[in-house]
């Protein structure tokens, strides 16, 4: 489009990336995070292990495949007022999308409550109890009475249009290795539907996960660098799991991460499934905000009166400009309308760096996709990194729009009904750039980048649930629950340290809630803690990652295995070889396990007695005279027989002694 010679979007992208001081996460230091004012907090969701759903008597944890369903129901959502008489911004945005929401219902996992055709049943007491226990572990002030609140969700993920949720505790704290993190609250809520697809104006959900009990632990924004956020998240997840009362597996724990930089806004990265993705996501988000603040500065320097700023657009008729771009040709063939848009003064802004591989153009495009429900690809701009318009086409577009030197242009295509919303969205997003960082929720990708999901909802989406009575929580009841709590993760962490168990085993031990087992083996069977810790944290982890899981396997079998070895006076080292068999065939008795790994019980003395014979043998086959070679060779010959019968370290010492004679 109208370009001064030498303006190159790629160069501009790289230049702006440098100006704002973006560095990859590997090179980032605390000084860098302090410079941009990195700030982050967490919302950690955890499904509870209950028999039924939270507000109805459907079983929890029964899942349906994407195409399996018994009935379909359609709903449209409309924004409503909050208790304090305000509309919520997200709600208004969702309403604009005019989505038709389709629910795929399976009779096995959903009832008329799930689909909002029956009022709620009394809350699941089992779930309530677990939530209180975790609140107590998190040092939260437990409320005197739980009030069920409706939290509006107009994306359709819940057929009622709101999530029933109640606060269990507020103002708690957890301890990381080096600092304390404050908690805002813990709530008990019903889980939402799982999305099947979202194409154009139709979004499809499955109702199997809907209504399952879930807790949400919310922290203050106390984290000051990306690694700390991950550490905190792991801690909360381990704390939840330490009760043994929560669900595990894919989707059972999910987190939303709130991030801002100095002068930025709270942005919520939604649904991060794995904690190891957190560092890169939070790093990039802080820098995206830092970049948007730079864009704000540029715009306010260039454009004096924001209030007068607006886009202008033209529908492009068939004969006006002939585009060679394939996407535009396809769009025309599909009957979509082609629209050219001029953004005054936005030159250099569209190709401004925002995230690795993304520029301000994506900020506009991602919003158009969500709000106007456009299907990608739907736009080209004057600042695409790989230009998609020929020079003369771009010139014609600029001329048609009467663009000036410092303007930027976009051409997009859409169904006629969506054009008005698309244009409003472009203008709205551009105007927001004058103010800095819009508050949004963003969807995360494994590569560490994010895209716009929706406007960030606020307190205005809360409404008391008139269908539920408040639930009093008496002191006696809470005192009783306190007696059933496991000790804190930080206490356990310190104990593992004291036992000298290597730190690289902790994540596995905590994430699988294996601390109680580890402790029991160490204390009751009196086995060396380092041996037990590494056996579980390394060997078991390895076996679990490489062998097929059968549902009969239970970690408790490891205790039984060690006890068996002790009772039969077999060296514990054999456990290493037994484990893969025990893991795959947990019903096999231990004698048979020994047989299957071809273990034979041979007295210690007999093994030792073989050394002198082997010495003679070595002198026959010897390759070198070095005593350590002799030792190694003899050890190699005896190794298989020795395991389980004599401690390998002991045997090695004996061989060493005998060969040095």
């Amino acid at each position: 489009m109208v370009k001064e010679k030498g303006f190159n979007p790629t160069k501009n992208y790289n230049k702006t990336k440098e100006i704002i001081g973006y560095v990859p996460i590997q090179q980032a230091t605390q000084e860098i995070y302090d410079r941009i004012g990195f700030m982050s907090g967490l919302e950690v969701h955890q499904q509870l292990l209950t028999k039924r759903k939270l507000f109805c008597n459907c079983p929890a944890g029964i899942y349906q495949k994407p195409d399996e369903y018994d009935a379909e129901v359609i709903r449209h959502m409309r924004p409503t007022l909050s208790e304090l008489g305000e509309y919520d911004g997200t709600a208004l945005m969702e309403f604009k999308t005019r989505k038709e929401i389709v629910y795929h219902i399976s009779n096995d996992s959903a009832c008329t409550y799930d689909i909002d055709d029956t009022p709620p049943f009394p809350i699941d007491r089992e779930a309530l109890e677990i939530a209180i226990k975790i609140s107590l572990l998190s040092k939260l002030n437990v409320v005197g009475e739980v009030h069920i609140t409706r939290k509006q969700y107009l994306d359709g993920s819940i057929p009622t249009g709101f999530q029933r949720t109640g606060i269990i505790g507020i103002e708690g704290e957890i301890y990381l290795k080096n600092k304390k993190i404050r908690l805002i609250q813990l709530s008990l809520e019903e889980d939402s539907c799982r999305e099947v697809s979202d194409i154009g104006h139709i979004r499809v959900y499955r109702t199997d996960r809907l209504g399952m009990p879930l807790i949400e632990t919310v922290t203050y924004p106390d984290f000051v660098n990306p690694d700390e956020v991950k550490e905190g998240c792991d801690y909360i997840r381990f704390l939840n799991r330490s009760t043994g009362l929560v669900r595990t597996g894919i989707g059972a724990g999910r987190q939303d991460v709130n991030v801002s930089c100095r002068g930025g806004s709270r942005v919520e990265i939604k649904g991060v499934a794995r904690t190891r993705w957190i560092p890169k996501l939070t790093h990039n988000e802080a820098f995206r905000q830092w970049a948007l603040l730079h864009i704000r500065k540029l715009l306010n320097e260039k454009i004096k009166d924001k209030k007068k700023w607006k886009i202008n657009h033209k529908l492009i008729n068939d004969n006006e400009i002939t585009f060679t771009n394939k996407s535009i040709k396809n769009a025309k063939a599909a009957g979509l309308v082609i629209v050219a848009v001029n953004m005054p003064g936005f030159k250099t802004v569209l190709s401004h760096f925002t995230q690795p591989g993304k520029s301000f153009t994506d900020e506009i495009g991602d919003r158009m996709k969500v709000v106007a429900c456009l299907q990608k690809p739907f736009m080209v701009t004057s600042e695409d990194i790989n230009p998609k318009l020929k020079k003369n086409e771009a010139k014609k577009v600029a001329k048609l729009l009467k663009s000036e030197e410092n303007d930027a242009q976009m051409v997009f295509w859409a169904p006629r009904d969506d054009i008005k919303t698309a244009l409003e969205t472009i203008e709205e997003r551009c105007l927001m750039a004058f103010d800095g960082v819009p508050e949004e929720t963003r969807k995360s990708f494994e590569d560490g980048t994010t895209i716009f999901e929706r406007v960030l909802p606020g307190a205005d989406r809360m409404y008391p649930d008139t269908d539920s009575a408040p639930i009093p929580l008496e002191d006696d009841y809470i005192e009783k629950l306190k007696l059933e709590l496991p000790e804190e993760i930080i206490v356990r962490y310190r104990q593992l340290k004291k036992w000298n168990i290597p730190e690289d085993t902790y994540t596995y031990i905590f994430s699988k809630n294996l601390y109680p087992l580890t402790e029991r083996i160490i204390l009751e069977l009196k086995i060396n803690p380092v041996f037990v810790g590494t056996f579980i944290g390394h060997r078991l982890k390895f076996i679990e990652g490489h062998f097929k899981h059968v549902k009969e396997f239970n970690y408790k079998i490891i205790y039984a295995m060690f006890k068996y070895l002790l009772d039969n006076k077999i060296e514990l080292e054999l456990a290493r070889y037994m484990l893969s068999v025990v893991y795959e065939f947990p019903k096999m008795d231990f004698d048979s396990v020994l047989e299957s790994i071809k273990f034979r019980k041979i007295p210690k003395d007999e093994i030792i007695s073989r050394i002198s014979f082997l010495r003679n043998k070595f002198s026959e086959v010897r390759l070198s005279d070095k005593p350590e070679n002799e030792e190694k060779w003899i050890m190699g010959q005896l190794y298989k027989t020795a395991i389980g019968n004599i401690k390998l370290s002991e045997l090695s010492e004996i061989i060493s002694k005998k060969t040095s004679k």
Binding site: V73, T80, G85, D117, E145, I167, M462
Partner: protein, 461 residues
Amino acid sequence: MDNDFFQGYKGDALKILRDKNVRVWGQAHIETTRGDFQGTVLPRAENDDDQHIVLKIATGYNIGIDVQTITDMKETGYKKANYKIPEKEFPYTQGLPKVKLFGTGGTIASRLDYRTGAVIPAFSPGELYGAVPELADICNLTTEKVFAVFSENMGPKQYVSLAKAIGKEIENGIDGIVIGHGTDTLHHTGAALTFMVQNSPVPIVLVGSQRSSDRPSSDAALNLMHAMHAAGHSDIAEVMICMFGPTSDEYGLLHKGTRVRKMHSSYRSTFRTIGDTPLARISRKEIIPIKKNYNHRRKDKNVKILPYFNDKVTMLYYYPGMKPDTIDNLVDAGYKGIIFVGTGLGHVNKELYPAIERAHAKGVHMYMTLQTIWGYVHMFVYDTGRDMMAKGIIPTGNMLPEVAWVKLSWILGQTDDPDEIKKLMLTPINDEITKREPYNGYLVYQGGVPEVEEFIKKVHK
């Protein structure tokens, strides 16, 4: 401080609020044995206990504080919430029909009530446009709040005042009438208005919602749009009930006020025409008639308003072993009419015969309807039926029990001549008794049967 400052609080909770000078809508800092809490004190529902104080915390959630755990509390600020639906003047569009909306309360127009903690009818019809702006594309709307009561509190007085209000509107040349109404007794009102407003030249549409309009997935908005569409544009000039067809947000059905019944306590698609097909299917775009014969819209104003009602009519739902004194007591209490809701084809046990005879002798008008809901009363098949007819109970064909109650009340408001009453009862005004039941008039499918499961999967419920 005056009691209003402590809306809904009583007993221990009220005492501590008073002692500590903390008002409802005040920001409070509360110290308890379970830790500190901060937030806005909210009113408490009257029926909830006196042991908790409700607080809205900064994140927007409400919690309750156990007053026994409170060690100290302080008011740090005050801000009263102002719950108000944005009110906009309804725009006038040349060429669109004039529709009058009567507000009567109920879930279609409701908001939160702190007194009971439930929803109350308080959302004035004038605010509807603020919530459902699409209405302006359908008609030119004027509204009038006739009264505000919950559906279960609707009764004879309300029927009469509605009928009169409708008559006045037709006189003034309105193109259609919509009545916003709670759903519980929507069909009673439908029947009452069918009898009280006869020969209407315009559609009279009753509408409600099964989910209050304070919920994002409420059926209120779509029902209203359908109802306005029917009132303004349809050719069917009858008293109708307009509610969801399936539970999905797809289309509505127009039911005759005399043949419809609420069949599920909470489903959106709760209203069903019984023993016949609905009048028409309605969407935001079109009205597709299902029944071929109906009363057409007219230009004249020749409506007959017959606002009569006698409230000495009762209904008796028979159960095995019912004792005669249930009837005796009703007669002694002065009831003039009894609608029996009998078993099977219309039966009650022999033990009641003497009481029935006594009632008949005292001039009580007795009619038989059915617990089966579907089908015709048929008292010739068994002896008991013949006995009962001989003792003065008159079968009412396939008239629905609620409709029979409304009709007898309406008739007794006009005459007490038994023959006249019987003639009026058995002469249908608008299909409250039909001559035939079509094969698609009774469809209660059973889940689990393969062809039904296939149907449910394919067709939106």
